[in-house]
Symmetry: D2
Subunit: 344 residues, 4 copies
């Protein structure tokens, strides 16, 4: 029996409309390296939807690439980037940032979010010029790696603080769709150019085959970015692959529809589990949730479903990570819930 996977949001391929469009246009000749018609149109569309005609948009194939490119092209070698301990760049990118020569300053954060006092503390610690690195960028993820989302005022505070201290704010949006569709979210796309120096819109984890759209708002970070893309192996010859995807995702709100579906599947699980007395590691409102379950139940679930065991809580309970996607099936979610609740 094949198990149903709640391991991640990239177990399925992509929304069929993307492949249909790629198929329909496959014999068209287009310029390479992102100068194709579809990439140009997708960039135009993004500028409209974020309400910033001055943004520079670049499409790359994945999150690690987006992160290493953005950080390494922005910083000089003595400048560092501040990240939560749970931040993707700090733990799950095999040292990608350090391989480009930059230190990551770690901040402990229970909910995966950074606050101005965290950054202030790092800056205060780095007071021995020139013996220590110079923290110059703040890296945050929305939604975070533990499922939480930023409120508009939180982002405003962070951005104001960064500006006051001469730092860049970089928002990793690998799961931005899910964040913007979360029930407690009050951010909209047009807020992001006003509240970050650079961010990206994640396609891979929200229904694309591959692709992230990097949006550079700060002029200082725009210069020669495409050289860095080429240098890091991130400039696809057939840029249309990425252009077509973002065009399809964004033109009729498909991007948001897919994110809403993923969120609603997660929310359904959260609701019933809470009603049945289960606690969660974090207050996630996105498509990654972290229920705390008896090991006995977890073991039973493992025979039918795939998911990660996040950490042990005590002798008899553990946290698991459940990730829903744009393609998660409602009926299996219900079955999954009943496999837990029916067994409590």
């Amino acid at each position: 029996m094949v198990k149903y996977s709640f391991k991640d949001d990239y177990s399925e391929g992509c929304h069929p409309s993307i492949l249909e469009k790629l198929l329909k246009t496959t014999y068209e000749q287009q310029d390479g390296y992102g100068d194709d018609k579809y990439s140009r149109e997708a960039k135009k569309l993004i500028k409209e939807q974020i309400n910033n005609q001055n943004a520079d948009i670049h499409f790359v194939s994945g999150g690690t690439q987006a992160n290493l490119l953005t950080i390494s092209s922005a910083l000089r070698s003595h400048e560092s980037v501040i990240s939560a301990k749970t931040g993707h760049i700090h733990t799950h990118e095999a040292g990608a940032i350090e391989a480009t020569g930059h230190k990551i300053n770690e901040v402990l954060s229970k909910d995966g979010k950074l606050r101005t006092e965290d950054i202030e503390a790092v800056l205060a610690e780095h007071n021995t010029v020139p013996h220590m690195v110079k923290p110059k960028m703040v890296y945050i993820s929305d939604s975070t790696e533990v499922g939480t989302v930023y409120r508009k005022n939180e982002l405003e505070e962070l951005f104001d603080f960064c500006k006051a201290r001469g730092m860049y704010l970089f928002l990793d949006g690998a799961r931005l769709g899910s964040a913007l569709c979360a029930e407690n979210n009050d951010l909209i796309l047009p807020d992001l150019p006003l509240l970050t120096d650079v961010f990206y819109i994640g396609g891979t984890k929200n229904g694309a085959l591959l692709g992230e759209a990097i949006v550079i708002n700060n002029n200082r970070l725009k210069t020669d970015f495409s050289f860095h893309m080429k240098q890091r192996g991130a400039l696809l010859s057939k840029g249309r692959v990425l252009g077509v995807q973002f065009l399809e995702l964004l033109k009729n709100d498909l991007f948001f529809d897919l994110a809403k579906h993923a969120n609603s599947m997660a929310k359904r699980i959260v609701k019933v589990l809470r009603e049945n007395g289960y606690a969660f590691l974090t207050d996630s409102t996105s498509n990654q949730i972290f229920p705390i379950l008896p090991d006995r139940i977890i073991n039973k679930l493992k025979s039918k479903y795939e998911f990660y065991i996040w950490e042990k809580i005590d002798k008899e309970n553990s946290v698991i990570r459940i990730v829903t996607s744009w393609a998660t099936k409602e009926e299996i979610v219900d079955e999954f819930i009943s496999d837990i609740v029916g067994d409590s």
Copy 2:
């Protein structure tokens, strides 16, 4: 009027069968990061076709990525790689190799190929230990950046020399399909594991949407390669995108059929132009050809076709680069020929 492009072999999308397969399987759940069923099957198929069960196969999205990964994971920081001046890594990758910390030792070569005496000369020059880098890898391309291909005995000599001198031989196969289908080629896929330490099979320039299959033959280069893929942003979450493509390309010789088509289109142009007295910069037998034409004709061609002007030869003549692809249309090739020859 839209011009027809002979600029490169990645102006079209990909062979439709690839997209059809991706579409058909899009709702299937598959493991990420290359552990999906399609990647596993594609790797199995490649091992059979190259006749080497011990090879390690890794799929990445493009040539620059394949090059920087292979070189940086193989070398220590004081070790360098020898390349022809025309080598892709030396001139057209925005310093990708140097950005990973390695020097490229340049060799002048009229036909884009390296010979043992070229490498010998570099080694002889690097005699001041430890003041100079230590050349440790030889990088060649087949077909080369100027359209030529390696003969089996040439590759044997290079490989024997490299082994005798403790060096790695790395073959960039971004256009390997075209090389193996060239009329004067006498290499077959099973030769490559025996005559290189590592090589790759290029998909992007031969009918794939994106993708290169790196084949590591030397055990010393296998260790922890996937860490480097992750670190350089080359490990796609949805590895199936690459697996499906190589499976489709390789399962019924589609890969070779596409390469043959591209070559035959180029050959047709070469034949008629030679018959009409035109010379070429190199003796290309692959899908990249470099005819020398009067500027008067070039200017006329430019109104209907896109292509690169490679270099001026004299006051009245220049070399242009014409690239045919898996999807180049026969009737347009004929029209292109007639636009030159009819006008001579």
Copy 3:
């Protein structure tokens, strides 16, 4: 009035015998880059004193250089180094290790020392191959950055653990002289080749003008080390500068005599302060001590002495760092003590 400095152990120049020897031999012609007679003799002497004829010895000008060279020449780019949070490489080298492409895995440690359970925990955390770095080296300092020293059994446990787990153990000996002369030390020079893969003997902080002697015990770390020295700008043309220093320091136990003096000056302060009821941040037995003093006294001391305020303890007390050196004057130490105790 010029204040007396307890800020560090490099405020004075160097032991006069070194300069006298350099002066006496200055017109001699010697080979460059460490092949001079003095460097050769110094290396011979070190091999005798550490009782390891197979060691490779290299002289470099400072600690950051020794650290970045040793780590970057030993590791591949996906491999990381584990360090205490207080480790010099982690906080006080401006990102030197990361600039060579390597991540540092941080361990919290109250006394600046690492234990096997710390390393075990880092390894356990790094279980998601190939998404996380691969910890491959353990970096420790003896004496540590907070003045503590390793016991022989502690080093044995660490080294055995590293060997069992395929890791390298690297001991930063910038203050090794002070460590080996500490009252609770039970290590001797000949222990170090048996209990580390690589370590260095610090000259700069123990009476030399500049210079650290890197001792490589593990054969795997020896290959081509000098290329890396040249590449990182660490290969002095006039290697004699370093050779003469280590020869002078080591030939008649001057190295240990200087360290003992520094330690005894620190111990004198510790003793009286403890007798007078003062506590210390750490149980330092080396030449760096961290007394906790009332801010009122600290403020008074600041008018006569230079030292670092390490951290606030509470509203009325802070920790200061006092460093004694090979040249610290006894009478000023007594005056310093009396300025504290007389005022309590």
Copy 4:
């Protein structure tokens, strides 16, 4: 018998006055990391002698360090540096520049000097944005690695060209003393801040124990330079070592006196050899000369002297490199000349 060495200009120690001063002041307490009184005074003196109060001065221990620091702190990773093939950074620094992530664009030059047309040609070649690196800095040496020196108008042309093209001009002055004292030189120290963005004054090869004084004239290159010094292991704890040296060398023209001596020793050889019909590889007027001699004579010389054989000219003649220094003995020069001429 010990042979007399003409291999290089760093075979002797340093001018005794430096060591005497270091000895005299060795027990003084001074601030570390270049904030000592001697470094401050030396910087003040240099600013006066170059007639530029706005320059930033930094002392480092050697030429490779000065080069890698200056280049890596100035360039972003996609920016490259243009150098003559003979340039020290390109051939004799074990890949130091590439190890910091930057490509070197090679220019062939018979006399070791760069001209605007050389740079123009490199820029013209680099026309495929963003596929090629972006040449951003020009690296020259004065005197060059083959003994020639720049005329003021040559430097003016280069600098004007660089400014017009948005590039930095960096002058490696490892042998600047010899260059400025060459008979055909018309540059003076105050010219250099006006005609370069950054340069350095070499101590190591002109009578110092170790040390180069980097002079940054362009404000854009000044920011945070000391962080990079620390990060690359170039910030000596006992900065006084470097400060004292430059103070001694520069305060009474000792620096120029030493360079003049070295040059005059070389000139004496050149004069007599030319009179006796010998040719030279280059028109060197500095302390490195490249006479072409019969192999028969070279073999005889080898029994009494040390020097490098540069290259074979034909079956019977070779070029050798003879380097004179601040300490080269007049009587041995005469003996050397007579060993050649007497034997012709």
